[in-house]
Structures are given as C-alpha cells and as structure tokens.
C-alpha cells in the first residue's frame, strides 16, 4: 500500500511539463517570499499589487503586436513605475491614488486589447491566471536568474537594506543612499513580477508577495530569519500546491495560494496573542 502511495505521489514527476512547472513555481514562490519581506515591512503591498496589474497592459500589447513578452511588459512596467513616481512626487495625489489611476488605466488598455483582438486571448489569459504547466525553458531561466540576482543583492547590501527599511531618515544621515536602496528594491520587485507573472498570474502575485512574509513575521522577531523563513514558506507552498493541483485536477496557481493561506491561518491560530499582535502591527497590509 505504501508503495502504491509513493507511486501515486511520484506519478506527476514522470511528465516533463510537471517537472518544469514545479521547478519554476518553487523558484517563483521563493523569490516572491524573499521580496515579500520588504513589501510587507515597508507597506508596499499595494505597489506590488498595482505593478502586476500595470504590467498586464504591456503583456497584452506585446501579445497583440507579436513583441517579445519580456521587452513589451518590461518597458510598460518601467513606464508605469516612473509615472506613479512622478505623480506621487508632485504631492497633488497620494502614492496610493497615483497607483490606482495608472494601474487601472493600464489594466483597462489590456482588457480593451483582449476584447478587440480575440486571437490574443489565450496568451493574455495566461498572464492573468498564470500557466504554470505550460512554462518554457526561457521562463525557468528568467525566474532562476532573477532569484539568484535578488538573493545576491540582498545578501551583499543586507545592512543597508535593513537600515533604510527600519529607519530611512537616520540611515540617510548616516551615509546610506536610501533612494538608491529604494530604487534597487523597486527594480527587483518589477523584475520579480515580470518573470513570475506568466507562472502564477497577475491576480495571484500580490498574494504570494504578502502571505509568506506575513506568516514569517508571526513566526519570528528577527529580520534576518524572515529573509529565509518567508522564501521557505513560498517555495514549500508552491511545491505542495503543485502536487495538490495535479491530484485534485485544479488550477495550480490557485492551489499554491490556498496552501500558503492555509499555512498563514494555521500559524495565526497556533501562534497565540504574540504572533497575532505581530501581524496586527503590519497595519498597512
């Protein structure tokens, strides 16, 4: 019976599409978990959510115009980020309102393209909902490269990232170039969204950027531990989610998020008053 169970559990790994999907989902889960620590502690959840929606417009446009996805969506993402920054800096609108305007407009353009050019529908749907079982080698390489790059940058600049996240004012006075650290984080976040969007989908990226990091926050009071606990939860959730999706014949992206959300709920109810207080302190989620 044990043998049968093992055979059943290992069955999906006989398929190349599943192996590829699992590798890329685990890498994406880890990467989103890592960047999510900064997203959660800096109150940037809405930026992550907004950027993923803004990039959708670029992805739709590049699909319709037969442009390379990374070029089209990447350029669109950079333009959206710059626009959000410019509007917010003029202080006429708050950053949240600026994100709301730019991202919904960008999303609407994507939707209009989807309606007008029906043949692009499948590709656009892959961006919206993810297509973890249809990943290509290029997707795997992109996620792994961005993952290695982000991990290296965060390790090498650890103290400066920590200082500018905890106390940007004093960090600036102490010689840390806070605006450069923020720009580096924004670039890493944009790249993460760009390379994971086709895997887990626009609509679910923000969840994976928030849930593993928020769960890690309940488990530890150390920033350094959060930086490995959150990616571990993201990657573990992706691995379990992929397998559950195969055996229950459901959407892989949805199952990954359900697993992560279940982990969050379990930790929330098991961690007692202290853990709940920690997550409550992340009032901006």
């Amino acid at each position: 019976m044990t043998t049968n169970l093992a055979v059943d559990l290992l069955e999906p790994y006989g398929f190349e599409f599943f192996r590829n999907g699992t590798v890329v989902a685990v890498a994406a889960g880890g990467l989103c978990g890592l960047l999510g620590v900064f997203v959660v502690l800096r109150g940037m959840s809405y930026i992550g959510h907004g950027l993923s929606h803004a990039v959708f417009g670029g992805a739709a446009a590049s699909a319709v115009m037969n442009l390379n996805y990374f070029v089209g969506a990447g350029l669109w993402g950079i333009v959206s980020g710059v626009l959000i920054g410019r509007i917010a800096r003029r202080r006429i609108l708050g950053a949240d309102a600026a994100i709301g305007v730019v991202t919904t407009a960008s999303f609407a353009v994507g939707l209009a393209l989807l309606n007008r050019y029906g043949q692009a529908k499948r590709s656009i749907e892959a961006v919206l909902f993810g297509s973890v079982l249809g990943v290509k080698t290029g997707d795997i390489i992109a996620v792994v490269v961005v993952g290695i790059l982000a991990t290296t940058i965060i390790i090498v600049g650890y103290r400066r990232f920590l200082f500018s996240t905890f106390d940007p004012e004093v960090a600036s006075v102490s010689g840390v170039r806070v605006s450069m650290m923020e720009a580096a984080l924004m670039v890493m976040l944009s790249l993460t969204i760009l390379v994971t969007m086709r895997v887990i989908g626009t609509l679910l990226i923000s969840a994976l950027l928030v849930i593993p990091a928020a769960t890690a926050r309940m488990l530890t009071n150390r920033f350094s531990r959060m930086l490995w606990v959150a990616p571990a939860i993201g990657a573990g959730g992706a691995l379990l989610g992929m397998n559950l999706a195969y055996h229950t014949n459901t959407s892989a992206a949805a199952m990954i998020i359900i697993v992560c959300a279940t982990a969050f709920s379990g930790v929330y109810f098991a961690s007692g008053v202290r853990g709940k207080r920690r997550v409550a302190a992340l009032g901006h989620l």
Partner: protein, 265 residues
C-alpha cells in the same frame, strides 16, 4: 553641506540661514555655531522652526538662503524622536546598533568584535544584557537609550537629538537628562531641540531661543527671562528661581485658569 574653512573646534555652523516650505518662511536669517565640547539646546514654541533648523543641519532640508552644515570630516550621530520608527519592526537591540556599521564581508553576520563593542556600549548606557531583546520589549527610556547607543556606535563627533524628552514620563525624562549630562562629561558634544523649558532646557549650559529667527543665545540664566520669553512665545510669562535655576511658569500672565465646578443637578 561641508563647510571648508573653519576654526579647529567648530563642528556645526549656520550662516544667515533661511529655510522655507513653499512661500512659508520657517527659519529666517539664523546664524550660530556649535563648537567641540558644547552642550546646546534649541528652544522655542511649536512651529518655531526648531526641527526644520535641525533637519537643515543634518542635510535633510535645503536652505533657500545662507549656508548650513557640518565642518568637513565631522560625523553626526542623529537621535530622532522615539515615535519616528515602528517599534514592532523585527529587529533586536544588537541589530539596531550594528546596522549603522558598513558591511565589510559578503555575508552579513555580526562579527565577534562588533558584538563585543556593541555590548560594551550597551553596558555604558545601562542596557547591559538587553542586546538580544526585541526592541518592542523595552521601556520608553530604554528605547531612547538604544537610539543614543546606536548614534554613539557610529563614533560621532556630535550627538544631534530631536526632542529627546517629547512624550516621555517624568522618570524617563530624568534618565535621558542624566544620560546626556554624563556623556557630555565624557567629552561628547550635544545639540538638541526641546520645548521642555523646565524639565530639560533649564539644565543645559547654552540655549538658542528660536522663533523663526534667533531671539536670544546664552545660558539659561541669561535667556530664560521674562523679556526674552515674551518675544519667544508672544505672551508675557513669569520666571521664578528655585535651587539657583530659573523656573518658567507655563501659562501666560493674565491668563485666568478657572477651577472646574461641577454643574448643579
């Protein structure tokens, strides 16, 4: 900005400094220096430009006129208001201190030498054994001390504190005052802002009275006098003497405070 030509003991210099937010001039034509070994308090009412002046000295606000800054090579240890950070942030006391030091190795581990130095500093400030505590677990006075410890860990030439006794209880205020007095005795130069005339300002050797422009600059005995206070706060104020120190009555002359009387039922 760094000021190049300077006497050997000069640390901070403001020369005809003016700062504005839009059309609103907040600091007007301010000139004063802070020299090595001094303990200076900038006092004034809310909205008098104290924090803006401090931020200009720290390089966080650009002047619209004049010059401000530290002398080249002078290191500032900035202690912001305790409420300026999220005390739920997941860091320990030791990490808060060490994050000010550049990361010399690829892996961001706290070295043995850094740990030893940080623990010595914590002991010096009465925080021995608290290095591994999460910052939320500290009292208000301990949190203020951690900020001072962090600033000192940066090996500064001068400590710059923004309202160090704002929103703290009497006991914490005493703790902070004694800590700063001890550090000054050990040779640390200090510049701070405060609106706490009796609890803090009256104990300092030199006060700069600011209400957009400098009203007076001198010892508490010289500047905490009715004439200066009236110009500073825009209302006549009484000053008493207690134990050889000026005590400012915190309500303007002529203001009648009516006792509370419950309404008859």
């Amino acid at each position: 900005m760094n000021l190049k030509p300077a006497p050997a003991n000069l640390l901070v210099s403001c020369h005809h400094l003016s700062c504005a937010y839009g059309d609103n001039l907040v600091v007007n034509d301010v000139t004063f220096n802070v020299e090595r070994g001094e303990f200076v308090g900038i006092v004034g009412p809310s909205g008098s430009g104290k924090t803006t002046l401090l931020r200009a000295i720290l390089g966080m606000v650009k002047p619209v006129h004049g010059e401000v800054g530290t002398v080249k090579g002078v290191r500032l240890g900035y202690v912001p208001q305790v409420e300026s950070v999220d005390w739920n942030f997941p860091v320990t006391v030791l990490e808060v201190m060490v994050m000010t030091r550049p990361q010399r190795r690829v892996l961001p581990r706290i070295t043995l030498a850094e740990r030893r130095e940080a623990n010595d500093m914590l002991e010096r400030l009465g925080l021995a054994g608290l290095g591994n505590r999460h910052i939320r677990e500290l009292s208000g006075g301990q949190q203020q001390r951690v900020f001072v410890a962090r600033a000192l860990f940066h090996n500064p030439d001068i400590l710059v504190l923004d309202e160090p006794t704002s929103g703290v209880d009497v006991r914490t205020r005493h703790e902070v005052l004694h800590l700063l007095a001890d550090l000054h005795q050990e040779g640390v130069s200090v510049l701070l802002t405060t609106h706490d005339l009796n609890g803090l300002a009256a104990h300092l050797p030199r006060l700069v009275c600011l209400n957009r422009e400098i009203i007076a600059d001198g010892s508490p005995r010289d500047v905490l006098v009715p004439d200066v206070l009236e110009r500073l706060y825009g209302a006549p104020m009484h000053v008493l003497e207690h134990g050889g120190m000026p005590v400012v009555l915190d309500h303007a002359e002529g203001a009648v405070i009516r006792p509370f009387r419950p309404r008859a039922v």
